[in-house]
């Protein structure tokens, strides 16, 4: 099969986002789409999925014009989509989510045993047999939810599979399993569209790469004949000299010490130190307990035992407010669920953690607030640079920047970042790495939790590795390899 | 008021303890509260009577249920204060089946399926008020009418129709009826009156289907500074209304529909029936019009209502 887009235009509320996109996807090939945050990738995908109507141009399937009046039309054609923003019904079971709208029936009634069996088989096929189809989707970790999304897209054999940043929450073996799956589907003749900001992945999995900038296609490249640098240059419109800043580890005095921290059933006996001016990475597979450690340190959850010391004194954060007051900040991993109030604007979302601080006699100092927000918009390059826009209308990467901005405004002494670059484009990542590097110069201690191995090693001074809720290794970033860290995380001696 | 059946008959039933159920349609309005209280107070004058009072909270189905509940508890007789209900066939069927006497107080049900009824003659109440208004206006002027609620409550309808029957005989009297309902309450009466005042340059008299509404209306009139322009006439004999009449305000008259009298008479009638008497089926009570001249005969500062 061959799918062509010709001059596709799409806008929201009068502002055009796609200005005439031409694109060709073919069965048995993986087409990667790269582009900066807000370039219009997700919008393009929504057009293809029939989720939003297009404003102009046409879509041709094997040479014939198509009209997609709704998602059901696209699905009828075998176009399946994994959206960037998780779209599960949290109250429903995995089975129901996967077979949403297509539950098997017997004599008009849903045949639950057939349904569960089908979903179990599907999960097995994509390598996630350990997900229980009868569990509520909302109970799964983000990574597992992502795999459920993928299973959902495969519930019907697709002719075309569109994946919008499927890897943002995956790491290590999970990622390998995803790639295996993609390759198998390619062999079966499925057309695959793959969107990701992790260019190494893109180079590995794709047959060709289309780069989009500001809603226009700027070039289509072949991985064999291009480089990450070239793609970044096309996306950003400038060359990036260096991705990770050079770091000479100069840890100051210990700021935060975690001692024997445990939370029943999640993680056990975790101890580590963060020193002023240091960036410490934390790596682990999905569900290894990294996020939970961060939340307990921050007072968002209660640990069952263990202590947290700040400046050598034992402290007890009962609420996140206590932690913020003491200068600890946590950029949470799931922006939609725990990071943003989607319906509220950039200003509010950026200032939720600091609004009491900029109040005088109970009244917000709105000038100062506006100035703070403006400053953050400029420093992080939030696009569009409009503080009054609801964050719901920002692209995924820009939403992530808003979360970062909120925590940077608290001027933390200890900054915990849980997957902070999830969905963030390369150019912006570089800005973020530079920014945290600068923060350490001011004596801030940073814990960077990430599932991106390259990032974990590139941006940090040393790396803690977690496995099954325990801290299993600590290595210096400069003296180790990706393979070694990965080996620690899966428990194979390197 | 008049104790038509006579309490003295009750003594004959003093042998065993009697349980009398009261099925109240609603105990939200003071009028009905007062009536339920009167029944209970009167019951205390008999040594052998226990009263079980239920409240359907304005729900006809619940009244039916409550009646069934009472029958379940094997009451000897049921007094029904049916509020705005026109009939309650299912409840009355159940009572009939159990062969228990039923006394209706205030509210008469259509269909005649009850032992005895004691209550006001609402048409007469309206007529009395109408006569007072027609006399005082000397056949000329504008009369505003405030109704309580939808016409499924024939209490109000009877009062207004009684009034109009008299007033319409004087062609010089223009009647304006408020399009919205006063909901039988003071705040409702106030709001309806405010709208009437906005719409009508001149009003000579106001009639409300009950006192509560006219108390609110009186306030609206005084707020608008038009107290001297008009007088108010209503029905029930609520003690605040009697006080307003007594004080010589523009609250001129009200037709008595005495909850206390009706309640007491209702219980006495029940006792009489239980003692084997066969009283007259329907007993409409007199509804004298109270004005400043005779108000001292009716006001009782201790009454609830």
């Amino acid at each position: 099969m061959k799918l062509e887009l010709r001059g596709v235009r799409k806008g929201y509320g009068g502002v055009e986002v796609l200005h005439g996109v031409d694109l060709t996807a073919e069965g048995g090939r993986v087409l990667a789409i790269a582009g900066a945050n807000g370039a219009g990738k997700s919008t393009l995908i929504k057009v293809l999925a029939g989720a939003v109507p297009l404003d102009g141009g046409e879509i041709l399937l094997d040479g014939e014009a198509l009209t997609l009046r709704g998602p059901e039309d696209a699905q009828g054609l075998g176009f399946r989509t994994v959206y960037q923003e998780l779209s599960l019904v949290p109250q429903m079971t995995v089975t129901e989510n996967v077979l949403l709208g297509a539950l098997p029936t017997k004599r008009g009634l849903v045949d639950w045993s057939a349904a569960h069996a089908r979903v179990r088989a599907l999960l097995e096929e994509i390598g996630f047999a350990d997900i229980d189809p009868r569990v509520r989707a909302g109970k799964l970790s983000v990574a597992r939810q992502q795999m459920v999304e993928i299973a959902k897209a495969l519930a019907v054999e697709p002719r075309m599979l569109v994946l919008d940043e499927p890897s943002a929450v995956l790491a290590g073996t999970d990622l390998d399993r995803l790639f295996d799956l993609i390759r198998r589907l390619r062999e079966r003749g499925v057309a695959i569209l793959y969107v990701s900001h992790r260019l190494a992945e893109v180079m590995e999995i794709s047959d060709s790469i289309t780069v989009i900038k500001d809603g226009r296609v700027v070039d289509t490249l072949t991985p064999a004949r291009t480089s990450e640098d070239e793609i970044i240059a096309l996306m950003a419109g400038r060359r990036l000299e260096q991705i990770y800043p050079d770091r000479v580890p100069e840890p100051g005095k210990p700021l935060l010490s975690v001692r024997g921290l445990s939370r029943d059933g999640v993680f056990d006996d975790v101890s580590f130190d963060l020193a002023a001016g240091e960036i410490v990475g934390m790596f682990g597979l999905v569900g290894s307990g990294r996020s939970e450690v961060a939340r307990c340190v921050f007072g968002a959850d209660r640990p069952t035992s263990g202590t947290v010391e700040l400046d050598g004194a034992v402290t007890r954060f009962r609420t996140p407010g206590d932690a913020i007051g003491a200068g600890v900040a946590l950029v949470t991993e799931d922006r939609k669920h725990s990071g943003l109030v989607l319906g509220m604007d950039v200003t509010d979302n950026t200032t939720f953690a600091t609004m009491t601080r900029i109040s005088r006699a109970g009244l917000l100092d709105i000038r100062r607030r506006a100035a703070n927000v403006q400053d953050m918009i400029e420093r992080l390059g939030i696009h569009p640079p409009r503080p009054e826009i609801p964050v719901r209308h920002l692209s995924g990467g820009n939403q992530q920047k808003v979360v970062l901005a909120k925590w940077l405004l608290t001027r933390p002494r200890v900054l915990i970042l849980d997957e902070p670059t999830r969905g963030v484009d390369m150019a912006t990542r570089v800005d973020i790495y530079r920014m945290i590097d600068e923060l350490t110069r001011e004596g801030v201690a940073i814990l960077l939790i990430s599932s991106d191995l390259t990032e974990v090693l590139g941006a940090t001074d040393r790396v803690l590795v977690m496995r099954g809720g325990r801290l299993v290794a600590e290595v210096g970033s400069a003296d180790t390899t990706e393979d070694e860290v990965l080996a620690h995380s899966v428990g194979v001696a390197a | 008021g008049s104790d038509a059946s006579g309490a003295d008959n009750g003594g004959g039933a003093a042998k065993k303890t009697l349980t009398i159920g009261i099925a109240n349609y609603s105990l939200q309005a003071p009028y009905f509260i007062a009536m339920a209280k009167a029944i209970e107070t009167e019951a205390k004058t008999y040594s052998n009577v226990k009263v079980i009072s239920t409240d359907a909270q304005g729900d006809a189905a619940k009244l039916t249920t409550n009646v069934n509940d009472l029958l379940t508890q094997k009451v000897d007789g049921i007094i029904i204060s049916g509020g705005p209900l026109n009939a309650a066939p299912a409840a009355m069927n159940a009572i009939e089946q159990k062969n228990v006497p039923s006394i209706l107080v205030d509210r008469k049900f259509a269909g005649g399926q009850y032992t005895s009824w004691i209550g006001p003659n609402n048409t007469q109440i309206g007529q009395g008020d109408g006569q007072y208004i027609a006399d005082r206006l000397k056949g000329n002027g504008t009369l505003a009418v405030i109704t309580g609620g939808p016409a499924d409550n024939t209490i109000g309808l009877d009062r207004t129709n009684g009034l109009l029957g008299v007033v319409k005989q004087s062609p010089g009297i223009t009647v304006v009826t408020a399009p919205d309902f006063g909901g039988w309450s003071s705040d409702g009466g106030l709001k309806v009156m405010e709208n009437l005042l906005a719409k009508n340059q001149h009003i000579d008299a106001v009639f409300c289907e009950n006192d509560a509404m006219c108390l609110g209306a009186q306030k609206a009139i005084s707020d608008a500074g038009r107290t001297d322009e008009m007088f108010l006439v209503a029905a029930d004999g609520q003690k605040e209304a009697l006080a307003a009449i007594e004080s010589g305000s523009n609250y001129a008259a009200t037709a008595v529909n005495n909850a206390d009298t009706i309640g007491r008479a209702g219980l006495d009638r029940m006792m009489a029936v239980l003692a084997g008497a066969e009283p007259s089926k329907d007993t409409p009570l007199e509804a004298p019009v109270v004005t400043k001249d005779n108000v001292d005969r009716y006001s009782n500062p201790d009454s609830i209502f």
Binding site: A51, G70, Y83, S113, R134, R136 | N24, S53, P89, D152
Partner: protein, 329 residues
């Protein structure tokens, strides 16, 4: 197993054949409610002579019919994240129409027409909500007023049905079980099948849980929303006819505030007003609990005002017993 302790209501229905028995095990919410109800029944049975009598049981059942039917329809709407405030007015409209129509039409036809009117009312709500994306609260608030007005336009005065047969539906019993209660229970059973065993029912839950996700999965969201409101109208229509038949006279003013009891039953039974969560079993338990409270407070001769205070407190305690339910999830 452990993971889904507070989701038994949804997950339970989705149990595979191998664990089919789980279907029969009610969720913790329902268990708590059943426990409360049983405790109440036992205490009442011991301390009150009238409570466990046949007559009172029949009464109790009959009393639960209106709230039960309305709560059933309400649940379907609540599952989608909506609300239907108009049910009380639909009860009045369909009740008075059925009572009025029997004078001209054969009894079954009159009842049918009245119920169809109920379905139409619900459909109007559904279309407004689905097609024009309007807030269900306001739509049904507006239609509550409109339908009530139409009831008075149909007849300002109560209508006593001319056919004595009309009273059968509401008053006749089979043994000690009223026909009306049997109809209600049958409708609950159908509701259970709808919610747990049909894709339409699952779609209703999904719409309340994440409307966009369901839409993107190709489910026709609007059509299902209309269905939910239409069924709520249907239930209200049946309740209206039964109520008129039970009282023996149809009043245009009937049904005010019924919607609150219906919603309360659903929420006490574990339904979430944000949608996506709620069960037939829980709702039924909620209906029973509310019915028991009313029945007992009046059997124990509690003063009407204190009845209100107590009723409020009992509802509060009932929901306190199932803590853990979060306001927005």
């Amino acid at each position: 197993m452990v993971l889904d302790t507070d989701s038994g209501e949804v997950a339970g229905a989705a149990a595979p054949a191998s664990a089919r028995w789980r279907v029969a095990v009610p969720s913790p919410t329902v268990l708590v409610l059943i426990g409360a109800a049983v405790a109440i029944v036992v205490v009442a049975g011991v301390t009150n002579d009238s409570f466990l009598t046949e007559g009172n049981m029949t009464n109790l059942l009959r009393q639960m019919v209106s709230t039960g039917l309305l709560a059933l329809g309400m649940l379907l709407v609540i599952l989608t994240g909506g609300i239907d405030l108009s049910v009380g007015s639909v009860v009045a409209l369909t009740g008075i129409m059925s009572a009025g129509l029997v004078s001209g039409l054969p009894l079954p036809l009159a009842i049918l027409v009245a119920i169809v009117v109920g379905v139409l009312c619900g459909t109007v709500n559904g279309v407004m909500v689905a097609r024009f994306s309007l807030a269900p609260f306001v739509v049904t608030l507006a239609s509550m007023t409109t339908f009530r007005g139409l009831t008075y336009v149909y007849s300002k005065t109560p209508i006593t049905p001319t056919t004595p047969d009309f009273l059968t539906l509401g008053s006749q019993d089979v043994g000690i079980i009223p026909i009306a209660a049997i109809i209600t229970l049958a409708m609950f059973a159908l509701g259970w099948v709808l919610i747990n065993r049909t894709s339409a029912g699952r779609a209703l839950l999904g719409i309340g849980g994440n409307r966009e996700a369901v839409r993107l999965a190709g489910v026709k969201v609007r059509r299902h929303l209309v269905l939910a409101y239409a069924l709520s109208g249907l239930c209200a229509g049946v309740a209206g006819v039964i109520l008129a038949s039970r009282v023996g006279i149809a009043q245009p003013s009937v049904g005010q505030g019924f919607e609150l009891d219906a919603i309360a039953a659903c929420v006490i039974g574990g339904a979430s007003l944000s949608g996506g969560r709620g069960t037939i079993g829980g709702t039924l338990a909620g209906v029973v609990l509310l019915g028991l409270i009313d029945n007992l407070l009046s059997l124990y001769d509690v003063q009407s005002y204190w009845q209100q205070v107590l009723k409020g407190l009992i509802i509060a305690v009932a929901i306190l017993m199932r803590r853990g339910e979060r306001q927005n999830t």
